[in-house]
Symmetry: C2
Subunit: 310 residues, 2 copies
Amino acid sequence: MKCKNCPKPAEVKIRAHNSAFCRRCYLVFFRRRVVRIIDKASMVDRDDRILVAVSGGKDSLALWEVLASEGYETVGFHLALGIGAYSGRSFEQTRAFADARGLRLEVHSLSDDGLGVPDMMQATRRPPCAACGTAKRHYFDSAALEYSCNVIATGHNLDDEAARLLGNVLRWQTDHLARQHPVLQPTHEKFVRKVKPLYLTSEFETAAFAFLAGIEYVVQECPNAAGATQLTYKGLLDQLETTSPGAKLAFVNEFVTRGSAGFVSKERETAPKTCGGCGMPSFGDLCSFCSLRAEVTRKRRDTPAGATSL
Amino acid sequence: MKCKNCPKPAEVKIRAHNSAFCRRCYLVFFRRRVVRIIDKASMVDRDDRILVAVSGGKDSLALWEVLASEGYETVGFHLALGIGAYSGRSFEQTRAFADARGLRLEVHSLSDDGLGVPDMMQATRRPPCAACGTAKRHYFDSAALEYSCNVIATGHNLDDEAARLLGNVLRWQTDHLARQHPVLQPTHEKFVRKVKPLYLTSEFETAAFAFLAGIEYVVQECPNAAGATQLTYKGLLDQLETTSPGAKLAFVNEFVTRGSAGFVSKERETAPKTCGGCGMPSFGDLCSFCSLRAEVTRKRRDTPAGATSL
């Protein structure tokens, strides 16, 4: 099979787009596609300063690579989750990526606050992914303020968004559906715009880009993800994609362009208070992150020394 | 395992309801559940006259059995599709069911109009299920008028509705979503209310009812259904149900009670015309069924004699 754009043999075949590319043309195709998605959805302006949430995986590093090489002003932000060797490798990969390209990277470690994911798992009854999500939202918001960024960009890809959408739709969680959008405008002056430039780019496409662009990334999935419902949904959608190439793309894209109009978030109707813990906007006296932190602190205080070691 | 309601051993286990029943208690449970669903959604009043669309399969016969034995006034209507031995058996089973119970059955044969499903398949490029659906809608509407029924009840079960909903959601067909409801009020004086009393009752539950109630039904699926997208969706939902019992029920039920509110049908906004062919309400000069019929007639006229034989 030949490249779609030049006479060279194809190295990447994208079934959902019914296209195939050689290495060089694929890199160009991928970058252009991401930039086009950013522009079409007015995700980022050229004078914005973008906090890129980088985990060390293929998606966030590919995103950072595209944004930086396209000339956007970026600050990389890595939240170290404290999940043993997995988190160690994730940090090293991120640091190596930033150093090799001379990019600014800021790092915060959950364990420094006594809130590593294993601490939260032991101290609360929340599923690890829920606690981790709450912590990420808090630290991303705070970091955007601290480093004077007016946009947060995350590496959520098409597979992530399709699985999340399927989960929301299977229980018709209308409030979640109202907030599932590739561009979320801030609902408070301390928040900034949140964007997902890879939301129409599949996991396979991002992995192919990272590989062909020579980006070294952590291949291992988070060890806590095993058995997560999200993976069940991804498996079902993968099966669907095999019989109907492009099904995931249509599912997410048609939702954003058409389906989402029927769902209106209740969040914007209420003026948030100020969290008594961290000073960030909140619906209660404490924001959900500070409630989580208080829960972990209480549990640690009530547990005899030594009993909490993992 | 024991019956949930009495000391007898259970014969049917319903995972989605986390329940098990002996034969007698299951029959009571099933009937009561269907009646409760009918009442809760105001599907049928006690003085309504219901056209029950009966194919000869488990769902429609189980529905007719419940409606008739609960004292509702029913007219069974069987549309013979002309699909060889499958249609022959379907008619015989329906006739035997009605005769054994002294129920009124009206029958119309598509082949008498030269519109058997094989004729339509050969004469048009439409998928057989689409053409068949168009014909069913037309004949059910006409039959309700002819037999003075003010409600049409069909045997669509939870699995049918979940698969249809998944298909509509995967492409965010908002107009289809607006019309996917277990009770559709008429949009014209020649139409009647359409209800699906089994929409929350799974295929397994209906089959168990039919079997335990001694209803003989056609087990074979329609031979044209093989490879239909609907079956792919059913397969995916079956997998989901295995890992999360009750997932299908939540998907359909939450859609009807919550999700559907965001979708508004455009159909009601337009006053329909009268079809120049059959006199039923229509959006164009001909209704979709009469367009289909015209297409088949044209094709037959343009094809040399003998070439259309199947």
